[in-house]
Amino acid sequence: MSIMELNGGSCVAMVGKGCVAIACDLRLGNQALTIACNHEKVFAATERTYYGLPGLASDTITVRDKLRQRVNLYAMKEERTIEPETFAHLVSSTLYERRFGPYFIEPVIAGINVKDEPFIAAMDLIGCLNFAKDFVVSGTASEKLFGMAESLWEPDLEAEDLFETISQTLLNAVDRDAYSGWGAVVWVIEKDKVTKRWLKARMD
């Protein structure tokens, strides 16, 4: 059993037309034993940049706090909010600092930049970046998420369609994974609006 699979949990992010979506499940487990089903793994970096940190739950919280600190310092020193592209590199270098004793998380990032263009990225636990143009997945259900996203995602989805696509992708993927599921949260980020929705899921 890998430490990456100890607590379970998954995240996915997708690009739409002038919008992005990011979603996570709500499970916190101890191997096969479910401890809680209110463990959100997606957080806001800025008003239009969000990130998910599936993996070891304690590292999820530690890295969330560390990133908040760095984003706040960036905002004060640069006197502007961080762009999603820059934030991706910030997360990456934060992880690579612990190259030989890493945080056991695989972040996904979704945001809309200053030019109102959608942006998503994902990386491994030591911060190797993957800038995708369609979707990124991470967590214990990542293989299933890949499969679902490959078949459901299409280019230039509007916000509502993107919400449906990412929800179906996540729900159907986590149903095939014993370590993920037990509810889900979906964020849809548009250029002037952010929507958070809770999804009902199979609770078994």
Partner: protein
């Protein structure tokens, strides 16, 4: 050898003084003025005591508070003459006319920019003398800007590592203390000069609500209702003493800060080129909101306060 006690920052002179620290203080008294005014608003509770910390263990706190309610203390002293009372009422009516609506609570920091030149590029950022230190703290700087930048950066890092450790904004006094500890170190440990910077820190935390602190190069700090650092600070202090009231509102404080600066600055015109302004207030949810004014906002306010001097065509 007469300068024997000058060169070392950490050695007392025979009169028991630390010359380098006093020189640093002297250099600050030539720096641009920074004024800070704390506006507790009409419900001036912050000075009475810290608000009760919510505590689930407290038994029947509401009942206890009700039973200990004090009798209304509003009866005026008989010595107060009717004329003085009338004058006071007139002043109050005038204030209410000038600043209508409910008085907001908050803190004002206003700073004078000393270095101005036609050729000088404008600051790329919002300001050079007022800084956001944390979500709940703003600071104003008088003295060496280079030293200030390093201290502000230190304070920001300290505040953020507190947030990261405790998941709570750093209490204001704790942050001031942290910066002052560093400053004090340079008056005791050898080989280095002290920081040539005085600060005003304006902050808000749940423990003591709005707070205003001043600190100097020796590492001393003190809390104020209204204070001033930098050039002409004694003039400014006496102006503040005259016009400050315990129920002053934020809008009136802005006016007062500008008035004080207009009297202490040696330049004849007052505009956004020579001024910086910021406020710290709280929103409906009780979260602190820091605002550093844009040049256009400063000019608009000066206009409203009637302090904007029309550019004189004839002046050389």
């Amino acid at each position: 050898m007469s300068r024997r006690y000058d060169s070392r920052t950490t050695i007392f002179s025979p009169e028991g003084r630390l010359y380098q620290v006093e020189y640093a203080l002297e250099s600050i008294s030539h720096a641009g003025t920074v004024v800070g005014i704390l506006a507790p608003g009409p419900s001036a509770t912050p000075f009475v005591s810290a608000p009760e910390v919510s505590d689930a263990m407290a038994v029947d706190s509401e009942g206890a508070a009700a039973s200990s309610s004090t009798p209304a203390a509003g009866s005026s002293t008989p010595a107060q003459s009717a004329a003085a009372k009338k004058k006071e009422e007139e002043a109050k009516a005038e204030r209410e006319k000038k600043y209508p609506g409910p008085q907001r609570a908050g803190i004002v920091l206003a700073a004078e920019k000393k270095v101005t030149s036609k050729l000088l590029e404008k600051e790329k950022g919002s300001s050079e003398k007022l800084f956001l230190v944390n979500g709940n703290v703003i600071s104003g700087v008088a003295g060496y800007n280079a030293d200030a930048n390093s201290l502000v950066s230190y304070a920001r890092n300290a505040a953020q590592s507190h947030l990261s450790t405790y998941n709570e904004d750093m209490p204001v006094e704790q942050l001031v203390q942290k910066v002052c500890d560093l400053k004090q170190g340079y008056t005791q440990f050898g080989g280095l000069r002290p920081f040539g910077v005085s600060f005003l820190f304006a902050g808000h935390d749940p423990h003591h609500a709005f707070q205003l602190y001043a600190s100097d190069p020796s590492g001393n700090y003190s809390g104020w209702k209204a204070t001033c650092i930098g050039a002409n600070n004694s003039t400014a202090q006496s102006l503040l003493r005259q016009d400050y009231r315990d129920d002053i509102g934020l809008d009136e404080s802005l006016g007062l800060a500008l008035k004080v600066l207009s009297k202490t600055m040696d330049s004849t015109t007052l505009d956004s080129e020579k001024l910086e302004l910021s406020t710290l207030t709280i929103d409906e949810a009780g979260r602190p909101v820091a605002h550093i004014f844009k040049p256009a906002e400063i000019d608009a306010l000066l206009e409203k306060e009637g302090l904007k001097k029309a550019p004189e065509e004839t002046s050389a």
